[in-house]
């Protein structure tokens, strides 16, 4: 917490920058900004626990205001926590050391949709679904539709290096971001020009994509967009085990077919998510596929993928399970009586690995997590020709908060350790935030020193989102 003199000075200067109506030090506003969508913060709220609060929250309306705010915070050496939609799943916006939350929700302009270049230029605070709907009105899609779409925003997409549900075809946010504007911790503004690619040294954009507010604040971006596909089709195939399902996915991609959606559910996840609506034999694994594009291409791609699956012994379930998933893709994100009862908690460790390691990582993590009496169910999604991601989903319910939080941490510790031991990487698209912050140095190894030096160079006072990404961790 800030001392009262520093806080008074901060508020006085912030009010000069954005007006008093756009600064709050009211405890209620701090409480309501103190959590994101990370399962532990949500579970603690349900359990009646208090979360760490910021000292103030400020709502800028322009890049220039953000620059002035950061200059002020840097001079006062105050922790700054950028907040986008507050929809992250890793606690990245939690003000664990107090300080100033810079909430970008007022910066929600969609500047231009460029029909010639197929790009859109936005402010960081535009909410995903608002952007998507505006693009749809013009005959386009963003290609980036994470489950959090209704709450997450453009800046958050970039800051967490996120991926959408159709990312196999359209790409992840790092593929979609052509231009970027960032305010550095000292208040200077840098514009990284929107171009399809370049060869003028390293791509500096990529330094900030995934930086989670530790290196500056993303204020504007230019994204690729796509014409709304002429056609979309769905296909579902059931395999007797994970191994054959993965073989099919690998062959589909490596044969040159790129589905928009690829999701292979393990037996437990199939039982939970599919068997409740479709007749699936116990132990089977459902593969859900979707294809976007011209009608002719979609027909060809679906046939080729289906043939690969059938040749590997799959049972054809037609479009049903896959289409149902698509139509209900946001449903799983809602709280239910089951997921919120007592001291229950569920979370996902979204890892990634190449195909040679993927299955080993899956079994190693599953074993490690189940040791703690967690119910573990998983699906493989966001796939590539060379590997892919696993959503290692777990649920645990302890008799009290203390037991549950401690067990939750053990599941994470052992799950991540197993992932790293088998050669995987501990996050594919959710980010590091607070949940993974203590594992980050282990993930990166000696290369983490490079990140540390960059942080020291750009943020010598360590004001930017301290404690996240393994940077500025304070005991």
């Amino acid at each position: 917490m800030l001392d009262s003199r520093t806080k008074d000075e901060l508020v006085k200067r912030l009010e000069t920058i954005v007006g008093s109506e756009n600064v709050s030090v009211q405890e209620t506003d701090m409480v309501l900004n103190a959590h994101d969508a990370s399962p532990l913060s949500e579970a603690k709220i349900r359990a009646g626990e208090s979360l760490p609060l910021a000292d103030a929250v400020v709502f800028p309306n322009s890049t220039e205001e953000v620059a002035k705010i950061l200059k002020c915070a840097n001079e006062l050496k105050i922790p700054v926590i950028p907040v986008g939609g507050g929809a992250g799943t890793c606690g990245g916006t939690l003000p664990i050391h107090g300080g100033l939350q810079v909430d970008l929700k007022r910066m929600n302009k969609i500047f231009t949709i460029d029909d010639k270049s197929l790009t859109v230029h936005v402010q960081a605070g535009v909410v995903g679904i608002d952007l998507e709907e505006e693009l749809n009105r013009h005959g386009y899609i963003s290609g980036h539709t994470p489950t959090s779409l209704r709450a997450s925003n453009a800046g958050g997409f970039i800051a967490t290096r996120s991926g959408g549900s159709k990312s196999s075809l359209y790409g992840k946010i790092e593929d979609l971001t052509l231009g970027l504007q960032v305010v550095l911790p000292d208040g200077s503004i840098i514009d990284l020009k929107a171009v399809p690619r370049h060869a003028v040294g390293p791509d500096l954009k990529q330094l900030f994509i995934g930086s989670e507010g530790t290196l500056g604040i993303i204020t504007e971006a230019t994204f690729r967009i796509f014409r709304t596909p002429e056609s979309q089709s769905f296909r579902s195939m059931c395999f007797p085990d994970v191994s054959r399902g993965l073989a099919a996915i690998r062959e589909i991609f490596q044969s040159g077919v790129t589905p928009s959606v690829v999701r292979l559910y393990d037996p437990e996840d199939t039982a939970m998510a599919v068997s409740t609506h479709f007749d699936v034999a116990e132990g089977d694994c459902m593969l859900m596929l979707a294809f976007d594009g011209s009608t002719d291409q979609v027909i060809l791609d679906e046939k080729k993928a289906a043939d690969i699956c059938l040749n590997l012994g799959a049972k054809d379930y037609g479009e049903g399970p896959s289409m149902r998933w698509w139509e209900h893709r946001y449903d799983m994100y809602y709280p239910t009586k089951f997921t919120t009862s007592g001291f229950s908690i569920g979370d996902t460790i979204d890892i990634v690995a190449t195909y040679d390691k993927l299955e080993n990582v899956y079994y190693a993590m599953k074993d490690a997590m189940e040791v703690h009496d967690a119910v573990v169910m998983s699906h493989f999604s966001h796939m590539y020709p060379n590997g892919g991601s696993i959503y290692m989903i777990f649920f645990f319910a302890g008799p009290d908060a203390e037991t549950t939080w401690a067990t939750y941490k053990k599941i994470w510790d052992d799950g991540v350790a197993a992932c790293l031991r088998e050669g995987g990487t501990m996050s594919h698209q959710h980010g590091v935030g607070l949940t993974r912050t203590t594992y980050n140095e282990g993930e990166w190894g000696p290369a983490f020193e490079v990140i540390r030096k960059i942080k020291q160079l750009l943020d010598p006072n360590g004001i930017m989102n301290p404690g996240k990404m393994g940077l500025g961790v304070r005991e």
């Binding site: 506003d29 409480v31 909430d103 605070g125 709450a151 449903d331």
Partner: protein, 369 residues
């Protein structure tokens, strides 16, 4: 809803990953986590669980809610934050901790029987007594049409007269109590309600007709909930007009018309089709929906004390709703609520013509003459 049910619902809502926030009009207006469904729920959950008491800012947040129930449309667990907020407002009022900005609203209704502080004797100045022929209806006019949107009342009389009805309008009509019910002043609302029930039951007409959905909801739902029985059915004007489709004018109007669903009529009372039937008939193929319609319609920004307490933010919301009508290139924006009409017309800025349903029917009939 009992306290345990409320506690379970706010506990679940408080820690939701914000699945409805994108449609919350007050989130739109403030662009902050505070005036949001999950924000309200979190404050109530913390109070229920003993984590933190509701402070003055918390109370303000609970009054930064339109009770429009748009969040409910997007809530899979079907948590109606509007109902929960209203329940809490009653307790806040009982404790005397409500925002002082509501004092004038309450006093005006108690003293003058309308929220505007207008002289009660002027309530029916617009009414032209006519010979009673045809089925007699008791027209419960409501405060906005009586004082602020008088043309709606006048056109309603004209329209219903042309359809063969005769209207009774009582000089003894008081505010229905909706602004008081919605802001937590139940005891004061019931004084209005009891008086109105006695007055309405003494009228000779067989049916009560209303043009205001706020009145409609209160007369149909709130009065019976408190054991106050009206001995006549209550119909909204759109429902009456739907039954008279063949008698309504029809003409090729000079542009498209779209419809704004009032929250009290749509989400709270389930009346979506009747006004559309009327518009589709009279606009003769020129009716067009806004992107957000029916149970996904955006609130006009006026409800549940918002205009009284946070007028500028109410206008931000109203202005956005007008923009949504302009986005579909509508020339006419029609609603079926004097209060909504008043807000939307104030934000039209000459870009769109805003009508209440009876006004628009008369407008079309004049075009077709």
């Amino acid at each position: 809803m009992d306290q345990e049910a409320i506690a379970n619902q706010v506990r679940m809502c408080a820690a939701c990953p914000k699945m409805c926030r994108h449609v919350c009009p007050t989130f739109f207006a403030w662009r902050s986590e505070s005036p949001t469904p999950h924000g309200r729920a979190l404050l109530l959950h913390q109070e229920n669980s003993g984590t933190r008491e509701l402070d003055d800012r918390g109370i303000e947040v609970l009054y930064q809610c339109l009770e429009c129930s748009h969040c409910l449309t997007w809530c899979q667990p079907e948590i109606d934050i509007a109902e929960i907020v209203e329940h809490k407002r009653r307790l806040i009022v009982q404790d005397g901790r409500y925002p002082s900005g509501l004092d004038s609203l309450k006093q005006n209704i108690l003293e003058h029987h309308n929220p505007f502080g207008e002289d009660h004797v002027k309530r029916t100045e617009w009414f032209k007594t006519s010979e009673k022929t045809g089925e007699e209806l008791v027209y419960f006019v409501g405060c906005t049409a009586s004082y602020r949107e008088v043309k709606i009342a006048q056109q309603t009389q004209k329209l219903l007269g042309s359809l063969g009805y005769s209207l009774t309008v009582s000089e003894d009509e008081w505010c229905c109590g909706s602004p008081l019910f919605r802001t937590g002043f139940t005891e004061d609302a019931l004084k209005q309600a009891e008086y109105n029930v006695e007055m309405l039951n003494a009228q000779s007409g067989d049916t009560i007709v209303v043009t205001c959905p706020g009145c409609y909801r209160v007369l149909r739902n709130d009065y019976p909930e408190y054991g106050l029985e009206l001995k006549k059915p209550v119909r909204h004007i759109s429902e009456l007009l739907e039954e008279k489709l063949n008698d309504l004018p029809k003409t090729a109007i000079d542009g498209t018309v779209t419809y704004h669903d009032p929250c009290h009529l749509g989400r709270h009372m389930g009346v979506y089709d009747a006004p559309r039937q009327v518009l589709e008939k009279i606009a003769d193929g020129q009716f067009i929906e806004m992107e957000r319609n029916r149970d996904n319609a955006m609130c006009c920004g006026n409800g549940a004390g918002m205009r009284t307490l946070f007028g500028e933010k109410a206008q931000v919301i109203g202005s956005e709703r007008v923009k949504q009508a302009l986005d579909v290139n509508a020339k006419y924006l029609v609603t079926s609520c004097p209060f909504c009409k008043n807000m939307l017309a104030s934000q039209g800025n000459g870009k769109i013509e805003v009508f209440d349903l009876p006004e628009f029917v008369i407008h079309v009939s004049e075009l077709s003459d």
